[in-house]
Amino acid sequence: MKVIIIGAGEVGFHIASHLSRENKNVIVVDRNPEALRRVSDNLDVQVLQGSGSSPVVLEEAGIGSAEIMLAVTNSDEANLVACLAADIISPSTKKLARLRNADYDDYHETFREKAPHIDTVINPDIEVVKTIYRMMKVPGAVDVGEFADGRIMFVGLYLDEHSPLNHVKLIDLPAKLKGVRPLIAAIMRDEELIIPRGRDRLMAGDLVYYITAREQLQETLAVFGKQEPPLKRVLIIGGGRIGYRLAAVLESQPIACKIIERNSEKCDRLAERLNKAVVLHGDGSDQGLLAEENVGGMDAVVTLTNDEETNIIASLLARRMGIRKCITRISKFSYFPLMSTIGIDQVVSPRLSAINSILQHVRRGKVLSAMSIKGEQAEILEAMAMATSAIVSKPLRNVGVPRGALVAAVIRKERIIIPSGDTVIEPDDRIIIVARREAIQQVEKILAVKLEFF
């Protein structure tokens, strides 16, 4: 499978890294030789210097034989033109563009339908806002995903010392909890990902990922010892694109919202566009301002400026002032491993969101959504079981689910089934699979239609 990536920025780099580790043929195109050097020094991919919207360069990259082209440069216009040029040369290639300007928001579907040269438009800002909102709603969670149109929740949280589940073997879980059954899908312990079995124990400090039905979310959180009253007051630091979007979402809920922005022009624009939110002009890392605005009384603080160091400092300050829920925006991937050491657990990244939403389009078979979990060591896939794929019509234990992968849940119509070895998956079931990076290729294989009709 050949993938051409236009743009060797942070998003392009990480998608390339992801895909090349899965043995896909990746070609990265960028105008900047320095950015390309970083790619070619670190990844096993081909690089090509030139403009991604030039037909000559696309031809040279072999667009004719590429299955997917991802246009992820910093410029929306460049991405649109690259898709157009690619479509003229190679109509059969699937083309995806990242468009970040909010003006395009309402036209994603229109583009998909009416613009023949673009198959998919993604805007990571929308995804980030959704992720932040979910994190706010789920107390204690550091990672929240939704599957099956939100009917299934995927939650990652740190296990506390005094949690009732500390030191419990997984096999003993059903006996300990009557009725509620969070399905533990993965555990991160000391940067190592474990796909757990019955005899594994939960330990304090583990980052536990589990799957549950939405209705049981609160109960499962209670089981883990995480409970909080519903959110009432939220402070947003940084009034950029994401900050504005988040404020707009919160306004539609019964949640009081304050937003701090350093740039006075931006403040003006925010005040104009937002109705209920209080727009404050000032520096988010200014302790005086935070105290003045009674940060201690907030239920959550979200730091969203473009400067990640400011975000980190602001979150740490808010923590010190007694806020339990601080969501921090970080872009540099190299900072991620540091975050939990300095006490910042809830981290969002527009780039990670972009990667997640792009990944689901790259996956073969009928993958409906995909998200990669901390450290990109594993992925959670939601897929439709196709009538002719290897996974259906036989008991799971005979399917040959690869090592390092786990079929975590099966959704049949309205029912959620926790599968065992005897479960038989039927066509049109939705399945949720947790897979380590190494196993993804094989997972794709069992999901794919045996005879490729298209």
Partner: protein, 482 residues
């Protein structure tokens, strides 16, 4: 620096190398010759050595290979391959001392083709095949082969590839390094097979045809005959081998493009044009020079002139004539050919045409800017500007090459070797050619070089094959700092 990772990879490569010893072992069994026992012992020793290296590094779990580790793996891998490849020569008793065996083995892997064996035809067939086989393996590169067949080298493969094939402007044929390595090896094997057929069809025995094909394509130059290719005395063989030597001196990615149907690939590449032009012009000049003084007819002069020029400029080192009896101009041209070498990305050694071309273009640019001090100019290859850092590394390479040539010649002369021999031997080993001048000319060999001198030349051969930087970096103290 993850030394354990280096040991682990080198261990696996050694085990793979040991497995290739099965081929000469089987040939030895087939011919019932005395090479069977030595190969059995060498195989066991290499397997044990490889396993020991692997076990020493097995706990390592790094996935990422930095440029530094890549260089260490390649440098150490080639050294270790040389040592284990020498065992059959040593065990069979063809080489009286281990340094002789090591010289022969490293000369093989680096595709130099310099030999210390005085009576080649007396050597067992199994061992002669091994001698050719290690040239064949070394030609396209043992690390590149490793990347192609050992999946776990895929991660960080690019660092290894760059350390073993350090062309000024690397070209990757496929997005994934493993596919690139696989393609290069397939093309290489295909052309080798074509030469076997061509030679066999001309009446050479299958054994000789296989051996010569396996030493032509890597531009190695080991022959199974005492008098090298001259022993056959056949115009047909001379021409076939010349043809395949030229092919081996051309960038293998061009062969790939050619096989994919781009018939003009050779012509479109400026380096290839330069290389073929150089071969043509030098052949004509040398043939004209030896016409009348050595050979009576123009036909003979062309035949011997062509073969010698091609053999030296591609750094193969076969001989059909003793060029040391030729006029001084021809001899000097051949000496300079040793420095010129073949194309980048080919199996040949020397400085490589591309670097010489870039150097000339750079000199011209300097002259041009003396006349037009405010002119903005770029050194271009195929219409594209060459980045400054590439130019810098090319000039640095040429300076290092000449510096090492000077230093090693002085050292060799200091060991009691005469001046012509010292120059000739160092030029011929540094450029991976084989026959040099003086005591090591095309009809003599390296047996009479003193023991210490052989160590020096072994070092020169490895330097030349790994294009200096990868190996010499090991002498820089900064390399070992944490």
């Amino acid at each position: 620096m993850h030394w354990r990772h280096v040991l682990k990879v080198v261990g696996v490569l050694t085990i793979a190398l040991a497995c290739t010893m099965i081929i000469p072992l089987l040939v030895g069994v087939y011919y019932h010759d005395r090479s069977v026992l030595p190969f059995g012992m060498a195989l066991a020793a290499s397997l044990a050595g490889g396993t020991a290296l692997f076990l020493a590094g097995r706990t390592d779990r790094t996935e990422f290979v930095s440029q530094r580790e890549g260089m260490a793996i390649v440098a150490l891998g080639w050294t270790v391959a040389g040592v284990f490849g020498a065992l059959p020569f040593y065990f069979e008793g063809e080489c009286p001392t281990f340094v002789d065996a090591l010289f022969e083995s490293v000369s093989g892997f680096t595709t130099t083709g310099a030999s210390v064996l005085t009576d080649i035809e007396a050597v067992s067939r199994g061992l002669l095949l091994w001698r050719s086989l290690i040239q064949w393996l070394g030609g396209m590169g043992i690390i590149v082969l490793g990347i192609a067949i050992l999946p776990f080298l895929g991660v960080g493969g690019m660092q290894l590839y760059k350390a073993e094939v350090p062309t000024p402007v690397p070209d990757k044929l496929q997005p994934r390094i493993r596919d690139t390595a696989m393609i290069l090896w397939k093309v290489y094997a295909l052309i080798t097979a074509a030469e076997v057929v061509a030679l066999w069809a001309g009446g050479m025995s299958l054994y000789d045809a296989v051996n010569h094909a396996m030493t032509t394509l890597p531009t190695g130059g080991f022959s199974t005959k005492n008098a090298s290719v001259a022993q056959f005395g056949s115009l047909y063989f001379d021409l076939v081998i010349s043809f395949f030597m030229v092919l081996a001196g051309i960038n293998f990615s061009l062969h790939y493009q050619m096989l994919r149907g781009q018939t003009l690939a050779f012509w479109r590449d400026s380096e290839c044009r330069f290389f073929l032009g150089a071969v043509l012009v030098l052949t004509l000049v040398v043939s004209f020079d030896i016409w009348g003084s050595i050979y009576a007819t123009i036909g003979e002069s062309l035949r011997y002139g062509l073969f010698q020029v091609v053999s030296i400029v591609t750094t193969t080192g076969y001989a059909t004539a003793d060029y040391e009896r030729w006029p001084a101009m021809s001899q000097l041209i051949l000496l300079l050919c040793m420095f010129l070498g073949a194309s980048a990305g080919s199996t040949g050694g020397g400085m490589k045409c591309l670097r010489i071309m870039l150097c000339f273009k750079f000199c011209y640019k300097e002259l041009f800017s003396l006349i037009h001090p405010r002119a903005v100019t770029h050194v271009k290859i195929a219409g594209k500007g060459v980045p400054d850092d590439v130019l810098r590394s090319v000039l640095g390479f040429l300076a290092l090459y000449m510096g090492l040539f000077g230093l090693c010649s002085v050292l060799l002369a200091g060991m009691g070797v005469d001046m012509t021999t010292a120059f000739g031997a160092v030029a011929a080993t540094l450029g991976n050619i084989g026959p040099g001048f003086g005591m090591v000319g095309p009809v003599e060999n390296y047996a009479l070089i003193p023991g210490l001198g052989k160590w020096l030349l072994i070092w020169c051969m490895l330097l030349g094959r790994l294009e200096i930087y990868t190996l010499i970096i090991l002498l820089v103290p900064e390399f070992y700092r944490k």
